[in-house]
Symmetry: C2
């Protein structure tokens, strides 16, 4: 083990059928020699959820161990004290979810699922922007159906996984506009943008304060704010939120369950590896829903937008991913990255099928008080490809696809680089990967056939 580890297990039984497990990793003095699993643990340690069904677990169980065993292993149940850094349990009102936390250290790379900073994601995430625009009518419709409650209380809207905010402006402006029609112009509306602590919040606030599309510019009774915490934790009080929105964010898992041989994307995994990803994605989705169910008020609505599988059952961009994978192989061959670094490069994202989105609701028709009001899929036309069909400019097409890849996925891949890498080396890694990808894409422009799905959930008043 390249770094010392303190693990904490906190288990309580809730709702008579679920068990909470809370674990923590403390980054130590030296993890330069860490194994792949160490790296996965580090990458994933920003927030991990496990939903168990330990019917026989005791009401409260607090454990600590100093061990080298993998997080994938089941945790041994030997009691000890709870470290101060890991003392945060879910609020008593909250769903039975399990959260792994650790202290931050300057040497720890940013967690996966953080988008490229300095506004790059805002500029290049056009595919996501296009998917969002298809889902805006669902958000407007959901906004129309919330129960606003007493007139002297503020309305609360939450953007779960905001990144730098640009792609949130249009949907939130639409939702606020819809609400104003029945709230009137003066009812205060609080908007919370939630993302991980390492997110580029400076760009977010600049966008909110000065982008001409900002929902906050022309409505003086709207008050934006941000929460720097993983949405795999509870981020606001129970029964607090009128309207939730999450777009292209819940595709990111709370952790990477296993390494993937010879690729970095879970869609290229098979067999037992694929099963582990499916299991992780199912658990994370249930945890996400349970947390949001706790935060929503009665009558509140949650709209989640996610990449979908297209008609061929594929995420539709795997040829882009395969080209990037080939560039990474070139980079290993030329010594730009080590074999160990390459092996640790795995995206913690997973494109769920419609059946996987609906699975938590299948048994009882509802889940933690949430019920499904709509679940629809659309083709998400690739504007870069449409431009190419008009102008035949292969270079421009390749540049757009490479920028999209870089702004969305490269920061997560870069977390696998060794801890001795400088800021310049991290930048050079992104540049080399983007340029190599662009060169390959210009030679064989891939057709990208994307789809997007939106699910609308309601927390209905208790009968």
């Amino acid at each position: 083990m390249g770094f010392s580890r303190a693990m904490v297990l906190l288990a309580t039984q809730s709702e008579g059928r679920r068990t909470l497990v809370k674990e923590g990793l403390r980054a130590g003095e030296d993890h330069a020699s860490g194994s792949i699993q160490d790296s996965l643990d580090l990458i994933g340690r920003q927030g991990r959820i496990a939903l168990g069904s330990h019917e026989t677990a005791p009401k409260t169980l607090v454990q600590k161990r100093e061990a080298s065993s993998s997080l994938v292993d089941p945790l041994p149940h030997s009691g000890a004290d709870l470290l101060p850094s890991f003392r945060r349990a879910p609020p008593s009102c909250a769903a039975s979810v399990c959260i792994e936390r650790a202290t931050m250290s300057e040497r720890v790379p940013p967690p996966h699922g953080v988008m490229e900073g300095k506004g790059a994601y805002n500029k290049h995430a056009r595919i996501q922007a296009s998917g969002v625009s298809l889902a805006v009518p669902f958000l407007e419709s959901a906004a129309r159906r919330i129960i606003p409650g007493p007139a002297d209380q503020s309305i609360v809207i939450v953007d779960y996984g905001s990144s730098q905010g640009k792609n949130s402006l249009t949907p939130l402006r639409a939702a606020i506009g819809t609400m104003r029609s029945f709230l009137g112009p003066n009812r205060p509306i609080l908007v919370f943008h939630v993302d991980q602590p390492a997110n580029d919040f400076n760009t977010l606030f600049e966008v909110l304060e000065s982008d001409t599309d900002s929902y906050a510019l022309n409505d003086t009774h709207v008050f934006p704010s941000a929460i720097g915490r993983s949405f795999y934790e509870q981020v606001l009080p129970c029964d607090h939120v009128h309207l939730g929105w999450s777009s292209y964010a819940a595709v990111w898992l709370s952790r990477i369950p296993v390494p993937i041989p010879d690729h970095f994307h879970s869609s290229r995994s098979t067999g037992a590896i694929r099963t582990e990803f499916e299991r992780q994605a199912a658990g994370d989705w249930e945890a996400f829903l349970a947390l949001r169910a706790a935060e929503l008020r009665s009558g509140g609505r949650l709209v989640v937008v996610l990449p979908a599988h297209n008609d061929r059952g594929s995420p539709g961009f795997m040829n882009l991913m395969d080209h990037a994978n080939a560039v990474l192989a070139e980079m290993v061959a030329e010594g730009a990255i080590s074999i160990g670094e390459r092996e640790r490069m795995i995206l913690g994202s997973y494109s769920r099928k419609r059946s996987e989105l609906l699975a938590p609701f299948a048994r009882a028709g509802h889940f933690h008080g949430l019920s499904v009001e709509a679940c629809e899929m659309f083709a998400n036309p690739d504007s870069a490809w449409e431009d190419f069909e008009r102008d035949g400019n292969k270079e421009a097409l390749a540049a757009k696809h490479a920028s999209f890849f870089r702004s969305t996925f490269v920061p997560s891949l870069a977390t696998a680089l060794g801890p001795t890498r400088s800021g310049e080396e991290l930048g050079a890694f992104g540049n080399r990967l983007e340029v190599g990808l662009k060169d390959r894409l210009a030679q064989q422009p891939p057709a990208i056939e994307l789809a997007v799905q939106a699910i609308v959930l309601a927390k209905l008043p208790a009968a």
Copy 2:
């Protein structure tokens, strides 16, 4: 004029005696050749307040001009349309204050009053930390007296001017601890940390999530968030806040009213220059109070901690400032900075006397519904000097004072550097100034005799 300017004037009459003035500057293509006043305008444009008393002003007046006249000049009243970027007027419930806003541009330097990033301020702001600790009992006492309201509503605490959060942890933990004694363990508490959009919010969120002193670690019903907006604007709805806290932040003015010849600190100004700073400080203090009065709930409390004048009527650190001023003169002589850059270097901070803090309340005994519950001054012992008295280590003393100066004041001074300066040059400026200051301080260690004052304000229920 080195940059194009669009100015907007919006005036409404409120409370029968005050007038709002709203202006905006739009950074243009080229401000490399800007004058000192241009630079002041740019530096100050993040948020400026003016309180007027235009008894004869019409109810609503919206104006725009394309002009080169200084912001210090009174604005001409010729009507035109309102630019979209500047449309945000105060909420109808809000105090009659006036806010100047403009769009952000990548080329614009960060506004003054932002502390050094990457956690440096957290590490080196010991003088502020010591002053804060003296004021904590006032915050605890204020927390005890709030009116918590209905049990199903969250408690709202706001930290106005949080910087990177380290110095907020102890006071907020104390306030929350006090409140828990009468709220019980489960009442949700929302904590908002307010600072300018350019503030280092990543360090803030890391501190909140993982510092062992964080108030959020052991209380799962506390929910931290951040607001990236100047506190010279309304940042939360009216009647929303139970407890406000602001420490070493309201010393920063909303703008720099005039250049100061031969120094960068207002305490070395005299005559008409000094009068302009006094006027700006008085207006900003009234605006700050009026905005907070609007945001506070009935029964809410606001505690403001500020540097004070010591028994000799001085801020107590002017010998430190004079040494820094001498280093800047050396840097001009050696060509490290230009004369123009040096002339633009002015701190927009102003240490108010006790009489200035109390002035808004002098006439009626209250101001915008706020009344003074306490206003006290303390000597604020300099821990670096106490260490020096024990160990006689001049080098260590000089290093601590130089780091304090750098983390608190250098980012504001650096905004005066020309727009063509690279990130490396900005860093080199800070290094040269810190090293030069440390050398001078090690030769003649200055005695620093600081004082701190705390004012406690209550928004009492309407009779």
